[in-house]
Symmetry: C2
Subunit: 398 residues, 2 copies
């Protein structure tokens, strides 16, 4: 038969990154294209121990159905943790666990937007979220990124031009793909726009705990006097992504609606994984733990940055991040970036992600590409950056 | 601020069963209202052993990101198993793992239906799926159930009356809530209607492995010469529901679209749980294992049926299932069933689910209610059915 798919998903394609990642399974390819956290930082021994104890003490808990809102102990611990970070207001907010922050972001869109409503995002932004939003047929409008975050003047113009501005999606800390941090001034400015034009902010913070330089900037959620911020977080980058455990803190009314939608999406998140996260939070001095974790990311980022300084053509602009997983590079304006990325993987066996993959309109011009320093080994970083650097010099000159 | 939710989800409410389940946490309430598999049948020792070995041999596999389609080893084993059951055609079909069959059913609707398209279902049917379909704003049309499945004449009339008939959702084996099995004749008849009127069949089979009497009936998927059947299955009832691992076998084009939607929903299903399922399938003689599992369900069902025979008023009609988790009871036509169920839980501390919870229109008249025999202990079944039986006799006479 001829299949006719729903309008919202008919044009939806697998992400361009997936296509690049196919090359990365080829032998000898060094991949800077992934977005995986550093596996050497996974607290394997602790998780193994927690898991064994869980199966010893309460196996039925780990195996039977549980409630949609999440494993109660984990929810309580997260509420405490989020409250301490001013990301949870016990009077106005509720918090539930989700199957990764991906689900938190997808459901935020599902409960709030109709087909055709406008959702604003940074341009470039995280493709996984953009595709989730696209799958609801929303009108996705990208707002150009500046060094300190979204261009707020452009944002205000775009809001004025929209018939139905509903939601803005931002990653204020070590943004994917640029690694940039949104300044306090811009966070305040965006919140003021939200109040002025009555839209909701979806603040996605997967990387906030991975700051290895500079100082923390208050979250937008911490300014949320009008109860218009949805905050999503995850254990993927601080514990392990295979667990698929995230969470969302938002005004109670919104969480109630997200919960109904989560119930029909997957009933509840894997309960063993939620129990592992809860026990981990309870047993671990998180300040000490995160200090060690940040040291791993700092070292790997510095290793990549050192290589870039040494080997890259001076015509490649690049930005030193203060945290997260990514380093953003930009070729000269007259350079054919997609051809550069294709050549890198096909002739030099180095995979990077072309910047257009992160744009609302993937055909829009950009000469940037994304490097990931968390997934490759030290040896791969040193060798791969030297090879990629040699290629930049060959094409662009020293 | 005033929140304005998306049209598709604005009217969506938590399921009526959830409201009933609140009573079940009260002390002394005996619950026949759940839909949980029998916890005493969980293969705890095997899962504990598999989990420990996984963390010994390949912890990074269990913790790092994996591909959306599912853990390759599990997919391969499931393809083999489904092929052996004529539920997977290697030439035409593909198969992916999902976060429970709930996700398989939800995504099937998401990829195929636009707001306003018609989705047909049995009336009554599984409320979790109905709510998933509702969350996409589809026109849900319930087709009356007969003893041997959906009334096909009513189905054909409904299809003719629909402007946009797209999908029919059925649970052919030990249906939730009625416990009924769709006859081979009706399976063939429904497939013929699908071919004649060009719609797709979503065949949900969570309980098929739990047959404890009678003979297996071929799946609708096994008749799928025109590639218009989506088949969803789960480990929830044969292994453990807390794992949240299901799967879906369907024509390749449909699986490709479901995969894109799963990627934006939760990236992939918890990888530890997928590995546990794979190792379990590989190490276990499933025929022997399922034989033992069915014996547990047969015993519990018989225990409940014996109690009903002994204690219920003869005016309560009930149906002896050949498998699954549920037993369907019907009060006389002039009986106020909702009042009966409320009285049962409030005055007699016995929780059952009123049948209207499973209807497309929850206000439609019905005098049936659902009993679950898998979750309560033997003692609870014996005691609870005696109490409920006494109540039926008091209200209806012997």
């Amino acid at each position: 038969m001829q299949y006719k798919f729903a309008e919202n998903v008919d044009a939806l394609q697998p992400s361009a990154i997936r296509e690049i990642l196919k090359f990365t399974s080829m032998p000898d390819v060094i991949s800077f294209a992934a977005g995986n956290p550093a596996p050497e930082a996974f607290p394997v021994d602790t998780i193994r121990k927690i898991s064994a104890e869980l199966f010893e003490k309460d196996p039925i808990l780990a195996l039977q159905y549980n409630i949609t809102e999440g494993y109660p102990k984990l929810r309580d611990l997260l509420k405490q943790r989020m409250a301490a970070q001013q990301c949870f207001d016990a009077d106005a907010d509720d918090l539930i666990t989700t199957s990764g922050a991906q689900q938190a972001n997808e459901l935020s869109c599902k409960v709030l937007l109709n087909r055709g409503d406008t959702l604003f995002c940074e341009a470039p932004s995280f493709i996984g979220s953009l595709n989730a939003f696209r799958s609801y047929g929303v009108d996705l409008v990208g707002i150009p990124m500046e060094q300190d975050g979204m261009d707020l003047a452009a944002m205000e113009e775009a809001v004025k031009a929209s018939k139905s501005p509903k939601l803005v999606y931002v990653i204020p800390n070590f943004q994917n793909p640029t690694g940039r941090v949104m300044s306090l001034e811009k966070r305040k400015g965006l919140y003021e726009l939200a109040c002025k034009y009555d839209f909701i902010i979806l603040e996605d913070n997967p990387y906030g705990d991975l700051r290895f330089a500079g100082n923390d900037v208050p979250s937008i959620k911490s300014m949320d006097t009008e109860h218009r911020v949805i905050y999503s977080g995850t254990f993927s980058k601080i514990l392990a992504p295979g667990l698929r455990v995230g969470y969302v803190s938002a005004p109670k009314e919104i969480i109630a609606k997200i919960t109904v939608c989560k119930q029909v999406a997957d009933v509840h998140t894997n309960i063993w994984a939620q129990a592992v996260c809860a026990e981990f939070l309870e047993r671990t001095d998180m300040d000490t733990y995160l200090k060690k974790l940040r040291a791993v990311y700092r070292r790997k980022c510095n290793l990549m940055a050192d290589g870039i300084r040494r080997h890259f053509s001076s015509k490649v602009q690049w930005e030193m991040p203060q945290g997260g997983l990514f380093l953003w590079c930009t070729l000269p304006d007259d350079c054919d970036m997609p051809a550069f990325c294709t050549k890198a993987v096909q002739e030099y066996s180095i995979a990077v992600v072309p910047g257009n993959a992160f744009l609302v309109d993937e055909t829009a011009p950009t000469t940037s590409f994304r490097l990931n320093f968390s997934t490759p080994s030290d040896e791969q970083i040193v060798k791969g950056i030297e090879i990629l650097g040699g290629m930049t010099k060959k094409i662009l000159g020293a």
